[in-house]
């Protein structure tokens, strides 16, 4: 309480000290509260989105940012992408020194311009305009004004006054101007009160604004940004892109629009139709049909990202994919849909937001929040999901790219939001059995059999399917966590079921695994399953803890020791049971062998900030236990 009072006083003093000769963006005008933990401060942002008609919109943004140090430089960099549906009408930038004196000015024609194809895309039409004053005398201030014209109303901007951690906001606003008879939609997060609505003759302006938001310090295992800081998202009702019209009032409506983009694109050439019947007609189990047709698609197509104009939203038709054997996610899903349709199986083109941690989608607010398409095939009792850009996944398995999140199912009557399957600690398993022999010189001969299941097998799946056996060997030689070792033999057996699993057999010789001194022998019984999580202790945790994937790891280890040693020190057994998960390890010595057992269950979910110290303790204990060693001493 006291600290807060102090700051209040400082604030008064500093504004009183404002120099008369200083420009309006002088740094001395910034409240000390806003400088705390901040690398930069948004002095002013005026984001305006003007819906001209159902076909067009104009976005203008005027913002002023003061940068205090190198870590804030990234906010002074101007960059805006453009493509066939979005053009930059004008852009202008001004640089000020700490006193607010103007130093430089730049116009759009003097800005940089680059191709900006995204990773994995073969060709698209997006480019980027960028500019940087490269000021290295701190603090400094930049002011940018940019106007962007949209030839569609499918995409509305989002407003997040604080773009991320480390930046504070003095004053920021969003206003939406639209024709008086047009309804747009919005959803706000951590915004106090309601926006101000002002009616003009033919238009209506809706404005949100915030003042004096101090910088946020980012914390590990944090919730999503809109749960921490103010965010407003916008969406249309009626909209248009090229000649396609739609309505976003509900997921159902938006689904209708997506359907209209792909309608009639499911015509297959005759030879493919015949192939479909050859494959499917003899089979009775629909699940079997799906799997065989999916395999056929995987064998005959591959992912090539071609996204030009409306092609970024509309799939190539099935004929194109049949002829060329490639397409992007939309095209491949539409192709698979067409194959299934020919076999009399109904399926749904389904939009998702893909990416390991990218499950930001508010189910309550229909908007274009998607970046990927998968296929959903409902059966009588359950559902088979197909990732059509993969040539290797088994039918029905999604992996961490799209698991456990909302997807929008599309059919002629509209869209429907459903959850994709989520894999938890009963599905994501790593079960390892090791039999090892320790030689007199400290070399450990290891035979490790590991069964990986569910999300735990994703990495290995990628490894063995994307690399030749030679490269897998190279990888194993580089990546195992031993000081000096040789992989003598390795083998992988893949079980391509709906929850796939891979059995790995490794035969490894590890030089000097045990440290043997004159009379003692030191050895860590946990050979291959050591935890690396070690979050920093933080006494001032503010936000809830969000833990991602749940999994279970089990290890059973048996190490044959050279003759003539007895125990001097054995690690104590450890047993933890917390909300975040459980852990158990035991070590025994009998008949000249070490018997080690370890089991770790990691939970997922949301936990209160107050439990953070407990989480740190949980991981720290495991980190240490996983590395504790046995000391043996020579018999006398």
């Amino acid at each position: 309480m006291k600290a807060r009072l102090m700051i209040g006083c400082l604030l008064l003093v500093s504004s009183a000290l404002l120099h008369a000769s200083d420009g309006k963006y002088s740094v001395s005008g910034i409240s000390p509260v806003l400088r705390m933990n901040a690398h930069a401060v948004v002095r002013l942002e005026e984001l305006k989105f003007e819906i001209k008609s159902v076909k067009e919109a104009v976005q203008t943004n005027h913002y002023v940012i003061t940068v205090f140090n190198e870590n804030g430089d990234r906010w002074a960099q101007f960059s805006e992408y453009y493509d066939n549906l979005r053009s930059i009408v004008s852009a202008e930038g001004i640089l000020y020194d700490a006193n607010g004196t103007q130093l430089k000015k730049v116009k759009k024609k003097d800005m940089g311009d680059l191709k900006s194809t995204s990773v994995g895309t073969f060709i698209d039409d997006s480019r980027v305009k960028f500019h940087n004053f490269y000021q290295r005398t701190y603090p400094y201030t930049v002011e940018y004004t940019v106007e962007i014209a949209y030839k569609s109303t499918l995409f509305f901007p989002m407003w997040a006054p604080r773009a991320s951690g480390g930046i504070a906001v003095e004053k920021s606003s969003l206003s939406v101007v639209c024709p008086a008879d047009y309804q747009f939609r919005y959803e706000s997060f951590l915004y106090n009160g309601e926006p101000v609505v002002q009616k003009e003759k033919n238009t209506r302006t809706t404005t949100w604004s915030v003042n004096n938001q101090p910088a946020i310090t980012k914390e590990p295992y944090s919730p999503l940004w809109h749960e921490i800081s103010t965010v407003v998202i916008l969406g249309p009702t009626e909209f248009q892109i090229e000649n396609y019209k739609g309505n976003m009032m509900s997921w159902k409506d938006f689904g209708k629009f997506v359907y209209s983009l792909k309608a009639g694109r499911d015509q297959l050439p005759d030879n493919i139709k015949q192939t479909v019947h050859q494959i499917a007609d003899g089979l009775t189990d629909p699940r079997e049909k799906i799997a065989r047709l999916y395999e056929y698609m995987q064998k005959n197509t591959r992912y090539i990202g071609i996204q030009l104009g409306i092609g970024g939203w509309q799939p190539f038709d099935a004929k194109y994919v049949a002829a060329n054997g490639y397409g992007d996610c939309k095209a491949l899903v539409n192709y698979m849909y067409s194959l299934l349709k020919e076999a009399g199986i109904n399926s749904y083109y389904s939009l998702v937001r893909a990416g390991k941690y990218a499950n930001y989608i508010t189910s309550e607010f229909p908007a274009q929040q998607f970046n990927h398409v998968i296929l959903c095939v409902p059966l009588q009792k359950d559902t088979v999901w197909l990732e059509c850009t993969s040539q290797t996944l088994p039918a029905g398995y999604l992996g961490d790219f799209t698991e456990g999140r909302y997807a929008l199912l599309i059919n002629e009557s509209g869209g429907e939001l459903v959850r994709t399957p989520e894999y938890g600690k009963n599905e994501n398993l790593q079960t390892r059995r090791i039999k090892a022999v320790l030689e007199n010189n400290g070399t450990l001969q290891v035979k490790a059999n590991t069964n990986y299941e569910g999300l735990q097998q994703d990495d290995i799946h990628g490894l063995i399917n994307n690399l030749s056996p030679d490269k897998v060997k190279e990888y194993l030689h580089e990546e195992l966590d031993f000081a000096t070792y040789e992989v003598n033999k390795f083998d992988y057996k893949e079980k391509k079921t709906a929850i796939p699993s891979i059995l790995e057999a490794l035969d490894i010789s590890v030089s000097n695994y045990a440290t043997i001194t004159g009379k003692r022998l030191f050895i860590i019984p946990n050979i291959m399953s050591r935890s690396y999580q070690k979050p920093a202790a933080d006494s001032t945790r503010r936000y809830d803890i969000q833990l991602g994937t749940a999994y279970t790891e089990t290890d059973t280890v048996e190490i044959q020791l050279p003759a003539g040693y007895e125990a001097e020190a054995l690690p104590a057994d450890v047993s933890l049971s917390t909300a975040f998960g459980t852990y158990k390890s035991t070590t025994k010595l009998a008949d000249g062998k070490i018997y080690y057992y370890r089991c770790m269950e990691q939970s997922s979910g949301r936990f209160p900030a107050a439990n953070y110290a407990e989480l740190v303790k949980f991981y720290e204990t495991i980190y240490k236990a996983d590395r504790s060693r046995i000391v043996l001493i020579k018999n006398k």
């Binding site: 940087n132 004053f133 060329n324 400290g442 030089s511 001194t517 720290e620 000391v631």
Partner: protein, 670 residues
């Protein structure tokens, strides 16, 4: 044993023996069902095999009164599994200057699949060929093959016409996939002379030359607009057809500690050396001195260094401050540029904007920034010149011929009071007279009238590191002590940017986290943070609680020891190229805890890397009068090791890791 590079570097004008008549056994469009069943003993693991990759360059007369290069390429690939799909994406780079652009014609691409015993062809739709503008000087045409499956055979051919005679296409005989037949033919006319450069470990299967006479037709547009039309000149000239073939070339393999794979790839490249009759005879590439003079006259290199540059005066007076000596002045200017300019791209050679624009925009490439530095020092009357070099990732540059394309980086040399300094103002927090270790890649040239050669050898860099730890015991039986750590220059350099980004507190917190959280760190300090010329000095005091058990195992190296062998792989194809030599010393002095006695100490060891003693490892642990002292020193003064020496190097580090893992055992006195 002396180090010998097994890399074959063949520099020189052509002189080949005549040999084989053998031809590749493939032809566009002729694919038979049997071709799909082929097995490839060369690499049973390959996901694609290049059956043939055949290129040629001929010279033809053009309509601009000169000659053009006509490059043709034909390539056939057998894709064996989906990991080979990558090769079905083809990118063809096209060079352009202003309106003049190389002309790509007749792209043909076909995919063949075996369906029910029959070969089915799928042709590339010309509409699926995309053009992408990469930069002012580079356009890329790209396409991907249709109907590609596991087992597909794909082939493509194209023709590219270029009026840029200096742009004679190089040829790579080796790539990510094994190649059965790789062939390049160049029909070199007598009126042009190119120098060729071959590298790699692969032998030529065929290397021959044939002399012929060819006729040429050159069109000259009339200069006077009133007289439309053109003149045509026909003549004949001697041409030598050079042919290079490699057979059964294995795929390239990535390995750690190679400066770049491009040093090892089997390749031939060319540099235009001379125009002869009917041109006005002119040596294009001659001596280094001539090349340097030409560079100094070029607009996008050294031209502005020759000028008065009055516009620099303000910057010089701001930057130079109140320097008393020339050296001080040079240091100030260097520091000012380094601290105020932002380098937007490295590995550039020619400038794309003027030095004045560079100064005004406060940004530029490393070439622009260091040329600006050179200009400022010159303006002050100092002897300053640009130095061109090739960074490690760009591959080696050669001393013998001025092959400018081989260079990718510019730094500055200044001579003050007879002493030479090398400067790079493009990297924040780099010290005066320091270059990044990636600049230490052998041959470099000073661009001044004599074009003096300089060698930046990685073994001339020694990364010296010293850690000393003192430990005593406090009244409660805790270990208390102090640690001083001085990392090498380059570790200090990267640590400085981490400190700038995260701060010193974060650094010590990480240290604490690494040590297991129980350690208490007090009086943390880092010296020389802003003295960029010197390595950092990190020191702190600590307190470690102890368990007071009967037997106590103590790891004396803390987190300083080597925990992993840097050479993990058991096999090695290419030489090991370390960026610098290393010399690491660790010292510990520790009072035996009261009530305890030393039960076991690690045994001493001295290992010599080789009889020449180009590396050694010494480890010693002794106890005298209740004090344990440990000394560990690792020294490697050589940086280049042949694949044959790899085992030796791996074993050396195996011993280091083993020793650094050993414990001291204290036992409670009874």
């Amino acid at each position: 044993m002396k180090v010998q590079s097994i890399l074959v570097i063949l520099l020189g004008l052509f002189s080949f023996e005549m040999s084989a008549q053998e031809k590749a056994k493939i032809k566009f469009g002729k694919v038979s069902p049997g071709d799909f069943k082929a097995v490839y003993p060369i690499d049973s693991n390959a996901s694609a095999v290049i059956i043939g990759d055949i290129g040629s360059t001929d010279f033809v007369g053009n309509d601009k009164g000169s000659f053009a290069l006509e490059f043709k390429r034909y390539c056939r690939v057998h894709i064996l599994n989906k990991n080979g799909y990558d090769i079905s994406k083809v990118e063809i780079p096209i060079y352009r200057v202003d309106e003049a652009e190389e002309e790509l014609t007749s792209i043909k691409a076909v995919t063949y699949n075996l369906e029910n015993g029959k070969v089915v062809e799928t042709k590339l739709d010309p509409k699926s060929i995309f053009k992408e503008k990469i930069s002012k000087k580079k356009v890329v045409k790209k396409f991907t093959f249709p109907a590609v499956r596991e087992g597909s055979i794909i082939e493509f051919e194209y023709k590219l016409k270029s009026d840029f005679l200096f742009n004679l296409r190089p040829w790579e005989f080796q790539g990510s996939y094994p190649t059965l037949w790789s062939e390049y033919i160049v029909g070199m006319p007598e009126f042009l002379n190119y120098v060729s450069l071959t590298q790699g470990y692969q032998p030529y299967y065929i290397k021959d030359q044939k002399d012929k006479r060819e006729s040429y037709s050159v069109e000259i547009k009339k200069e006077n607009a009133m007289l439309s039309g053109s003149d045509r000149i026909n003549f004949s000239a001697g041409v030598t057809f050079f042919r290079w073939v490699m057979k059964d070339v294995p795929a390239l393999k990535e390995e750690s500690y190679t400066s770049t794979l491009s040093n090892h790839i089997a390749r031939i490249e060319f540099q235009l050396a001379e125009y002869r009759e009917p041109f006005i005879p002119k040596k294009v590439m001659n001596t280094w001195a001539e090349t340097a003079r030409r560079l100094l006259d070029e607009e996008d290199f050294g031209k502005s260094l020759q000028e008065e540059n009055e516009w620099l005066n303000d910057a010089i007076s701001t930057a130079g401050k109140n320097a008393k000596t020339s050296l001080e002045q040079a240091k100030n200017i260097y520091a000012w540029l380094r601290d105020n300019m932002t380098c937007t791209n490295y590995n550039s050679f020619y400038t794309t904007k003027s030095l004045k624009a560079t100064l005004n925009s406060k940004s530029g490439s490393e070439a622009e920034i260091n040329l600006l530095l050179t200009a400022m020092l010159k303006k002050l009357g100092m002897e300053a010149d640009p130095v061109i070099l090739s960074t490690r990732s760009n591959g080696y540059a050669y001393a013998l011929y001025p092959l400018i394309d081989r260079f990718n980086y510019i730094v500055t040399r200044v001579v003050i009071d007879g002493k030479t300094y090398y400067l790079d103002a493009s990297r924040p927090m780099l010290g005066f007279n320091k270059l990044g270790y990636d600049c230490y890649n052998g041959h470099a040239r000073v661009i001044e009238p004599n074009a003096a050669g300089v060698e930046f050898k990685p073994e001339s860099l020694m990364e010296k590191e010293l850690t000393s730890v003192f430990i005593t015991n406090d009244a409660n039986g805790n270990l208390v002590g102090s640690l001083q750590h001085s990392p090498g220059y380059y570790s200090s350099y990267s640590l400085r940017s981490r400190l700038k980004e995260k701060g010193q507190d974060a650094y010590f917190n990480d240290l604490k986290k690494e040590a297991g959280g129980e350690i208490e760190i007090t009086e943390p300090a880092i010296d020389s943070v802003n003295n960029y010329e010197a390595p950092l000095a990190i020191r702190y005091s600590f307190k470690l609680p102890t368990d007071k058990e009967d037997i106590w195992y103590f790891n004396p190296m803390f987190s300083e020891g080597w925990k992993e062998n840097p050479f993990k792989s058991t096999e090695r194809l290419y030489p090991v190229e370390m960026p610098y030599g290393i010399d690491q010393t660790f010292l510990l002095r520790m009072d035996v805890p009261p009530g305890y006695a030393v039960d076991e100490l690690p045994k001493p060891i001295i290992v010599k890397l080789n009889p020449e003693d180009e590396g050694n490892f010494e480890y010693r642990a002794v106890e005298t009068a209740g004090v344990v002292s440990i000394r560990s020193r690792i020294r490697l003064s050589r940086t280049y090791f042949s694949p044959e020496e790899y085992v030796m190097l791996r074993e050396f580090f195996n011993l280091v890791v083993k020793k650094h893992n050993e414990q001291i055992v204290f036992k409670k006195k009874k």
